[in-house]
């Protein structure tokens, strides 16, 4: 394995963390969007706010991390992807603006109408942003991004079966992860009702994600042959691991078990992402640009690895600290502290 491979691994690790934590935040927005206006829906939204409020911004940084590592270490791939996929990436950027500002504004908005508007901006963009990101990944996977400045088709590169399916898979996976996380959050929140509510949704999302993945087998075989071949050979053990984890979560949820669902759900997502990585290796852009060909100067690659090393030492403990504080309910926003975590006498 070369230095370039190591940097690609760093990039893939960033993508994995973004898919798990950023993906779950997108999923939370998905559930907020479809929670409805009833009393149940409002409570579900309250839980979502409470659960992701302190962490979503930190989780979002993984996206920035991926972008900067990609353009620094693999600038040819970055500029090829960004220019050919101008439309879905512009839409994803728009989604990111509406989502972040919608979330930041909705708790402060005084009038109900404005609050609803901010909530809808947050919810809808939580659905559309991962979808467009998925179409981008699908475009790369199916070899529709040629090297160069806007050399691919501006429309069909991302409006095709592989892209649409990957987009749907991204949305479903985020919703699935989020629902599994929210079951535990509902327990911390002291709301058994919401625990059942999100258990049902986790089951539904797991089945939906599984169905899309199965459909993906056929679509990828037809149109993203390189990835398909990789997933069914070198990547196969990881695909199987992912399926086993996914089925494990289903079985646990079905039996009403909560313990172990989160690591298993994360395992299912991580395994499939790394399976994909193994399948795509050694290509950055399948069959046109390898990691080796696309890598920048070795001094730059070393620089990225050094900064990543520092990040492991500084950022990961800090992130862990944030998650621990958050999971122990030591971080509180405005007013609505739930019963379960309210200190006695307040």
């Amino acid at each position: 394995l070369s230095t370039a491979d190591a940097v690609a691994g760093v990039l893939w690790a960033g993508a994995t963390l973004y898919a798990v934590f950023g993906g779950a935040d997108f999923g939370a927005g998905f559930w907020a969007l479809f929670a409805g206006r009833g009393q149940h829906g409002e409570r579900a939204r309250g839980l979502i706010d409470w659960a992701i409020g302190p962490v979503w911004e930190a989780n979002h940084v993984w996206l920035i991390f991926m972008l900067v590592v990609l353009w620094t270490a693999f600038s040819v791939a970055f500029s090829s992807i960004m220019s050919t996929l101008f439309i879905p990436l512009s839409l994803a950027a728009l989604g990111i603006v509406l989502r972040g500002s919608g979330f930041a504004f909705h708790n402060v908005a005084r009038r109900l109408r404005n609050r609803r508007l901010a909530e809808q901006a947050f919810g809808l963009s939580s659905l559309l942003t991962p979808f467009f990101m998925g179409t981008v990944v699908g475009a790369v996977a199916s070899g529709r991004v040629p090297i160069g400045n806007a050399q691919g088709d501006a429309v069909t590169s991302w409006l095709n079966a592989v892209s649409l399916l990957t987009g749907a898979l991204f949305v479903a996976t985020g919703a699935y992860l989020s629902a599994v996380f929210l079951i535990s959050d509902a327990r911390r929140y002291g709301d058994p009702d919401l625990e059942r509510y999100f258990t049902a949704r986790a089951l539904g999302a797991a089945l939906a994600a599984g169905a899309i993945a199965v459909a993906g087998i056929f679509v990828f075989r037809a149109d993203a042959r390189y990835i398909y071949d990789g997933l069914t050979s070198e990547g196969l053990p990881l695909v199987i691991l992912s399926a086993v984890c996914g089925i494990g979560v289903l079985a646990l949820l079905w039996r009403g078990e909560r313990r172990g669902t989160r690591p298993l759900a994360i395992g299912a997502v991580v395994a499939v992402i790394w399976g994909w990585g193994v399948a795509q290796y050694p290509y950055l852009l399948p069959e046109s640009l390898t990691i080796k060909e696309g890598a920048g100067a070795s001094e730059t690659l070393n620089g990225v690895l050094i900064v990543f090393g520092v990040a492991v030492v500084l950022v990961l403990p800090a992130l862990g600290f944030l998650y621990v504080l958050s999971q122990r309910s030591l971080l509180e926003g405005e007013g609505e502290a739930p019963q379960a975590v309210r200190p006695p006498g307040s």
């Binding site: 600038s75 990111i96 504004f105 950022v315 944030l322 509180e332």
Partner: protein
């Protein structure tokens, strides 16, 4: 005839998309980049400097057991939460735009300056983590522990600003690479790229600008409140903390900016010539305030003979390079705008130094009745003025670098995307960002209104309930020495 007209209009209308698609993407790409950067730079400045103001208030609150200062810090943290969120997403848009609008630039030079952005990513990560802990930590963390979770935000803000502005400095003074026989990039040295010649003056100039803008902007909000008759201790603290910081920073900024201008006369003489509208290289160059830049020099404006030469080399005999030193295709556009932007920035900074002196003088002479209405009025406009100076400075840097994206290595038109439709995205960006600006202001006003009208809800007291007891219910008399 009417039908013909309609048909003409329709055929014209159908040509619009073709026209837009056919015309170069350079103009909309530059417009979109300029607009989104000009928007983000204000939020980024708040992101860098606001946490420091917040922590000063927090420190005063803890140190003196001052409930007002603590409450102020808590409110500011809620404001910072909003501006940080908006700044985070507008900053993300910029990361996208590097590739969406300037893929050829990134393709060729990403490996040279990129490491600086990876470092920025590290700082931004820590900033996002600790700002979340700080904002959400008011209720359950103990006072000093909570204060210390805020300190990394300040450090990372400065570090992040350094990393980002180092890249802009690099675009002005490219270093850390060589060009091979076919124009390919070789001999990359990321550290040389980060510590290029312009980093030494551009980075401190921008970090100080962030503190200056934030200080005057927050102070101006409280000055308006005081002009409306709200003269409680809250407003006094809210005015004095940021204004004191800004008053200290402004004279330093003047010196740093002066050094920067002199360095630019050395490093990018054509940019300097465009800023001052020096058409031909000569000695004893007149410094003009205002005026219109024409091909035969400045028309109108106030001229001070020899001053421009003196400012560049401390002697009227100093030779100043003129625009004629390079062919017209290598000169920046819009020289009158550049000249005005430069003058406006320097002029506003000078006035703001005056405001700082006024603060010091008023404070020293009569601290009891301070501040006067005229002082408050001046402070009330200082925030907008400081933002204007910030934008002017940014225009000088960016437009003054044109037609280059990488000074003397790559032209902006070579960097632009081959994708079509940037006019469309620019139009959407204009609409969305206008909405975003309005919504941000409305949300902040809502917060302010809520704080003015509502009693503090139970559980809103900082560090409650554990620490609520030792805090005095009313503000202790401090003699106004904060």
């Amino acid at each position: 005839v009417g039908a013909d007209r309609v048909a003409d209009a329709i055929s014209l209308a159908t040509q619009i998309p073709t026209f837009l698609a056919a015309s170069s993407e350079l103009t909309p790409a530059r417009s979109q980049m300029a607009f989104t950067l000009g928007f983000h730079i204000v939020l980024a400045s708040l992101g860098v400097a606001f946490p420091a103001m917040m922590l000063i208030a927090n420190y005063i609150g803890l140190r003196r057991n001052d409930a007002d200062a603590l409450e102020l810090a808590q409110r500011w943290s809620k404001v910072a939460a909003v501006t940080f969120a908006v700044g985070a997403v507008t900053g993300t848009v910029l990361s996208f735009e590097f590739g969406l609008l300037w893929p050829a630039f990134m393709d060729r030079f990403g490996e040279v300056f990129g490491v600086s952005f990876v470092i920025e990513g590290l700082f931004f990560f820590l900033e996002a983590i600790f700002i979340a802990i700080y904002i959400f930590g008011w209720k359950r963390l103990s006072g000093w522990a909570h204060f210390w979770t805020g300190v990394p935000i300040v450090i990372c803000g400065i570090g992040g600003a350094f990393s980002v502005v180092a890249v802009n400095s690099w675009m002005n003074q490219p270093d850390g690479f060589a060009l091979g026989a076919n124009g390919q990039v070789t001999n990359v040295d990321p550290l040389d790229a980060i510590f290029n010649r312009a980093t030494a003056y551009e980075v401190p100039h921008m970090i100080l600008a962030a503190y200056l803008v934030t200080g005057f902007l927050i102070a101006s909000v409280y000055a308006v409140g005081m002009l409306r008759g709200r003269r409680d201790r809250h407003h006094r603290l809210g005015l004095l903390i940021p204004l004191t910081v800004a008053a200290i920073v402004t004279p330093i900024q003047f010196v740093v900016g002066d050094t920067a201008a002199r360095s630019i006369a050395d490093d990018q003489p054509v940019k300097f010539a465009a800023m001052e509208c020096v058409q031909t290289t000569h000695r004893d160059v007149t410094e003009y305030l205002g005026g219109r830049c024409t091909s035969s020099g400045i028309k109108g404006g106030i001229g001070i003979p020899g001053l421009d030469s003196w400012l560049v080399g401390f002697s009227t005999d100093t030779k100043v390079t003129g625009l004629d030193s390079v062919p017209p295709s290598d000169r920046p556009p819009a020289n009158t705008m550049l000249h005005w932007a430069f003058d406006a920035m320097v002029g506003i900074c000078t006035l703001l130094i005056g405001l700082g002196l006024w603060l010091g003088l008023a404070w020293w002479r009569r601290r009891d009745t301070f501040p006067s209405r005229w002082f408050l009025r001046a402070t009330a406009v200082s925030g907008v003025a400081a933002i204007l100076a910030l934008e002017c400075g940014w225009i000088v840097t960016e437009v003054g670098r044109q037609p280059w994206v990488v000074y003397e290595f790559m032209r902006t038109k070579q960097a632009v995307t081959g994708a079509s439709g940037v006019w469309v995205t620019f139009s959407i960006v204009l609409l969305v960002y206008t909405g975003l600006a309005i919504a941000t202001v409305l949300v902040l006003r809502t917060l302010a209104h809520r704080w003015r009208t509502e009693e503090i809800a139970e559980g809103e007291v900082p560090y409650g309930p554990r620490e609520a007891a030792p805090l005095p219910a009313a503000a202790p008399p401090t003699g106004g020495s904060s």
